[in-house]
């Protein structure tokens, strides 16, 4: 894998909820140009890990270093403005707004004139262009004027990604983007993520093994909040510990 310094690295990242340790001593690296897939059974702490990186939750201990700066405990909006974008496992969009407005609002968050109160919101060409590009990248241009609530589930997932892209992040944290998608839509999304992989550092949480092995440059397996194994997909696939603990011995090899 890449020898360069990672754009984002965690060291000993831990999150406790009372007596429960949801994420325990997790250290992982994200590099530009790499898709780092995190898999693990339900309750393994994958979503909590995402929340720690995005600032939705403050870690109990440990470091999150983004470009040399420790950002553990920073607020979600601050982390987003640094260039770390995320999508949600449960679709989290602005349902009453049009697709375009969802993306426009996301793009607006990047502009310094967000507090200019007398100009019409639609009047900024740079923001509109970012929104258009994000919709195009996610394959939603033909739905621009549709209200988000009227989209299909798969389209809402695409919008989720489009909004994330409109904020021009360099690190993308994608929490189960394929959840609930049909085969055709899944294929599209895999292609999209593959395309994004070149210019971004991506952490992808996913259950769909076809997608996982189609995309992963690096694979981390989490169980009970801990990293069980991390490395190239081939190495992880053949790890006896992984086969035993998570993949039930057979499942992965014969799917």
């Amino acid at each position: 894998m890449s020898d360069k310094t990672p754009i984002l690295r965690t060291k000993g990242l831990t999150k406790r909820f009372g007596g429960l340790v949801a994420v325990s001593d997790v250290s992982l690296d994200l590099h530009i140009g790499e898709v780092h897939v995190v898999i693990g059974p339900n309750g393994a702490g994958k979503s909590t890990l995402t929340n720690l990186l995005s600032g939705d939750l403050p870690p109990t201990s440990g470091e999150v270093v983004f470009e040399g700066q420790d950002i553990a405990g920073c607020t979600a909006d601050h982390i987003s403005r640094l260039g770390i974008g995320r999508s949600y496992q449960k679709t989290n969009i602005f349902l009453p707004f049009t697709v375009f407005e969802n993306c426009r609002l996301a793009a607006q968050s990047r502009t310094p004139h967000a507090l200019r109160v007398f100009h019409r919101a639609e009047g900024y060409q740079d923001i509109n262009r970012l929104a258009q590009e994000a919709m195009a990248a996610a394959g939603l241009s033909h739905r621009a004027q549709r209200v988000a609530a009227t989209l299909s589930h798969g389209e809402q997932r695409q919008l989720e990604i489009a909004m994330c892209l409109a904020t021009q992040p360099r690190v993308l944290l994608l929490d189960e983007p394929l959840a609930g998608m049909g085969p055709h839509e899944s294929q599209r999304m895999v292609e999209l993520i593959k395309g994004l992989g070149a210019g971004h550092a991506i952490m992808l949480i996913e259950h769909d093994m076809d997608a996982v092995f189609a995309l992963a440059h690096r694979l981390t397996v989490m169980v009970n909040g801990e990293v069980l194994e991390s490395g190239t997909p081939e190495a992880v696939r053949s790890s006896p510990a992984v086969q035993q603990a998570y993949l039930g011995g057979e499942e992965l090899l014969h799917d």
């Binding site: 609002l105 968050s109 919101a121």
Partner: protein
């Protein structure tokens, strides 16, 4: 949706017709309509919070009443005070108070936000009620109404009913245009986003608290403008102007008219004030006029049940918010 030109033109038409009102009608109705317009400003200021920022304040009378007291305390006892500086000063006091209280109340959400805003308003109520600052429970009289002079020429004298009416109408129109403008900007869109999905706004990188605080401050300032005018109209202020009844009444106007439409607040203020006037009219309703609040309550319940978008919902067919344009493609 083909009526967009009509809906654009309509507010100007309404203001134009309202401007002619004092020329054809009696003193009583001009005064009543002045009260309506003042409450319309007050209700619009609250709609900015409730309808556009997703913050239900139950203590908005604090800013309304504070401006009234600011005027009463700033004005010299038996001379007129200049409108030039007393109105901006009263608005400024309210903006500052909203900025300070906003930093505290905006740490809470939902039902707690309702309770904390109410608590601040009650605090102010008891400060003016139990201390001598503002004349205690009796309040203070404002003997001479403000005037506006340029050199020696008197431009506006609020002692004159028509002038007061026109000034109030002009300020209401200005408040409406200002809010329309602000809400159509990036700032306004961010407020709507916060109302719809605060969590996602934060994830997108918006410093939500700052936006809410700005909205809260603007809202307090506009409520102050309304409160100043109300104090001028009544000629006195007492703690009732800050009471939770007042906060409740303005909230009802917003809900009655239709939240998140701005013009709904104007309609709500009209409906509320006029209904109150009609239902409490003893000539028409005899002894039951005393119980006008019962009839008002029933009316509001009916609107809430059958017009969930308020009275403005009836008009909504003519125009749609651009953000949500293609709702039924």
């Amino acid at each position: 949706m083909g009526n967009t030109r009509l809906t654009q033109f309509l507010p100007y038409l309404v203001v134009g017709l309202l401007a002619l009102f004092p020329l054809v009608e009696s003193t009583f109705y001009t005064q009543l309509l002045t009260k309506v317009l003042i409450m319309a400003i007050f209700a619009m200021s609250l709609d900015l919070l409730v309808g556009y920022t997703g913050l239900v304040s139950f203590g908005h009378a604090a800013y309304f009443g504070l401006a009234g007291y600011a005027l009463a305390l700033m004005a010299p006892k038996y001379e007129t005070v200049s409108l030039w500086w007393s109105l901006p000063a009263a608005i400024g006091v309210c903006a500052l108070f909203a900025l300070v209280t906003g930093t505290l109340v905006l740490r809470t959400r939902g039902i707690y936000f309702i309770m904390v805003t109410l608590a601040f308003a009650q605090m102010l109520f008891f400060i003016f009620h139990d201390t001598k600052i503002g004349g205690g429970s009796d309040g203070i009289y404002i003997y001479a109404k403000p005037t506006m002079k340029l050199g020696d020429v008197e431009l506006v004298n609020l002692e004159k009913l028509e002038q007061f009416y026109w000034l109030t109408l002009a300020l209401m129109a200005a408040a409406y245009l200002l809010l329309r403008r602000v809400l159509g900007s990036n700032f306004g869109r961010a407020l709507l986003g916060i109302k719809v999905n605060e969590h996602r706004m934060r994830a997108l990188g918006f410093p939500v608290f700052r936006y809410q605080l700005a909205s809260f401050t603007l809202s307090g300032a506009l409520a102050g403008m309304a409160g100043y005018l109300a104090a001028v109209q009544y000629g006195f202020v007492n703690p009732e102007i800050l009471s939770w009844h007042q906060s409740g009444a303005v909230l009802m106007m917003v809900i009655l008219g239709g939240m998140g439409t701005l013009y709904g607040s104007v309609i709500g203020a009209f409906a509320f004030v006029l209904l109150q006037e009609v239902l409490s009219n003893q000539a028409w309703f005899g002894p039951s006029a005393k119980h006008w609040q019962l009839a008002m309550g029933i009316f509001i319940m009916l609107v809430a049940l059958y017009l969930p978008q308020g009275l403005a919902g009836l008009l909504a067919r003519f125009g749609r918010s651009p953000v949500m344009e293609a709702a039924d493609e």
